[in-house]
Amino acid sequence: MADAAITVEGAHKKYGDTQALSGLDLLVARGTVHGVLGPNGAGKTTLVRILSTLLRPDGGRVEVAGHDVLTEARQVRFRIGLLGQHAALDEELSGRQNLEMFGRLYHLGARHARVRAGELLARFGLADTGRKAVRHYSGGMRRRLDLAASLITDPEVLFLDEPTTGLDPRGRTEVWTAVRSLVGGGTTVLLTTQYLEEADQLADRVSVVDRGRVVADGTPDELKARAGGDRIDVVLRDAGQLGAAVALLPVPADGVSVDPDRRLLSAPVTDRMAALSGVVRALEAAGIEAEDIALRRPTLDEVFLDLTGGDERTKEAA
């Protein structure tokens, strides 16, 4: 791809006995938001650290913004912004002091660094933090300042490593809003996450990573379709009626799972509203009492079980 912002071909990285990346391939088009979705230990952070020149790959070709991360690390560093999993800020200094320091290190000049710091503080709702040291900030404020720090020079490529892990729902929404506002400015964003919903909300395309390799990629909708689409969960008052309920339901019989302990049956659906009203009507007509009925998206677990052959892994682990 001529206009690729990120090109990774066969990247390998090993820490001692742990193979963190084993032949990972990735292609991210300029100006898009690309989600990297995977469980803990899948290699997401290793990938981000390699892309942001913090870590050397053992093998493979890695290019960011048209420059090789090994031989042209400095050129790459001029063009990227990094929001790591842990705040990359000087905790003893104020938000303004941090941003001015980073601005000077990008050689904006003292005056520009000051102006830019003021702009970013205002843009991320931190204008009134004054001299307060960053270690007294809340989690959400810290993340926003961290994001501001990674945007000082309007990077061509921005890496966000699990940007909302550990944040409360409000902080999460704040970060999502900030990321959305970047898109359209032409910035390419690579975002790692454990949350399917986050990838769904923010990313144009998603790569699912497992054990150091990409096991699937596509748009969020394509991936969810592969994971079996939406499901309906019905909890009955009486576990003895589960069998009867399965026979009655206006949903395809294959793919229905039954859990007697939780008095739960779960079935894939294609048309959400039709399935919901159909199930309610069928149960009512048969006089079967339901405690709870819920439509839900496939969970990340289900995506993984589906995409990575989770059954085999469960056996391995056992």
């Binding site: 990094l82 800020l89 905790e91 320091m101 000077r104 050689h107 904006l108 040291a133 000082i152």
Partner: protein, 265 residues
């Protein structure tokens, strides 16, 4: 969005390294401004040691003018040597902070973080020396060699501190974690006392005396005593007091910069 277009990083490879070093020095000074008490404690501790050795270990009231003249230069060298601990601790703490990742993902001069650290530490050491000299003067110590010799002695002490500083930086990166730094810190003490800071090598068993004489610290102490015109000084140690720290720097400075560039890569 229009204004952001103007904020592109400027400066090509290798340019403005000095600016990065200055920015990192300012960072350390900003830390001082936020923790003045910590800085103060750093200055007071060696003074406390000096008074303790002068009045308690040195024999209470019977401290003769001569022993103070012998002790003060020794304590100055010891203070410079123990600066290594502070440097190690600061570097280790810094390296375990997230902000280092941001520095390393930015196009800044390799080693500017370390240069900032060393500039701040040197400034603190210079301040510390001034305080120690003033307290020494107050308890009866005198320099008899003239202003040029006094400045020369201060120069030797700071050169020695500079060498200790880069050893500290390198050890901090090798040790990596604060727990291991403590172990190294404990070892600094016997090495510090295995010198002529408090006693002359002649008063020690033969093999120990030899080791003490070879300790770079002893070379600096002897040369400084000579320049101050204090007892225990011998002419002819000046070259060793210059060459030893330079040799240590020639080894540890490149090692430290190189290691910092390759951290966790």
């Amino acid at each position: 969005m229009t204004t952001y277009e103007t904020y592109k990083a400027i400066g090509g490879p290798g340019t403005r390294a000095w600016s990065d070093c200055w920015t990192m020095t300012r960072r350390e000074l900003a830390h001082w401004a936020r923790q003045p008490v910590q800085v103060l404690v750093g200055l007071v501790f060696p003074v406390m040691l000096l008074l303790m050795f002068g009045y308690l270990v040195g024999g209470g009231r019977e401290v003769s003018g001569d022993y103070v003249d012998f002790l003060v230069p020794g304590m100055l060298v010891l203070t410079m040597a123990f600066g290594l601990e502070g440097t190690m601790l600061a570097v280790t703490q810094d390296l375990n902070k997230g902000v280092i990742d941001r520095f390393r993902s930015m196009p800044m001069a390799n080693g500017a973080v370390l240069v900032g650290r060393s500039a701040a530490d040197m400034l603190q050491s210079a301040l510390g020396l001034a305080v120690m000299l003033a307290v020494g003067y107050a308890i009866g110590w005198r320099a008899h060699g003239g202003v040029a010799a006094l400045l020369g002695a201060v120069g030797l002490l700071l050169l020695f501190r500079f060498a200790m500083l880069w050893i500290g930086i390198q050890l901090a990166m090798v040790a990596g974690r604060p727990e291991l730094v403590q172990a190294v810190q404990i070892l600094v003490w016997p090495v510090g006392f295995l010198s002529n800071a408090f006693a002359t090598p002649e008063s020690m068993p033969g093999w120990l005396g030899t080791a003490v004489q070879w300790n770079p610290m002893s070379q600096t102490a002897t040369a400084v005593r000579d320049l101050f015109g204090n007892p225990g000084g011998e002419p002819g140690h000046l070259w060793a007091a210059v060459v030893w720290p330079l040799a240590l720097l020639a080894v540890f400075f490149p090692l430290a910069v190189r290691r910092f560039g390759r951290l966790s890569r």
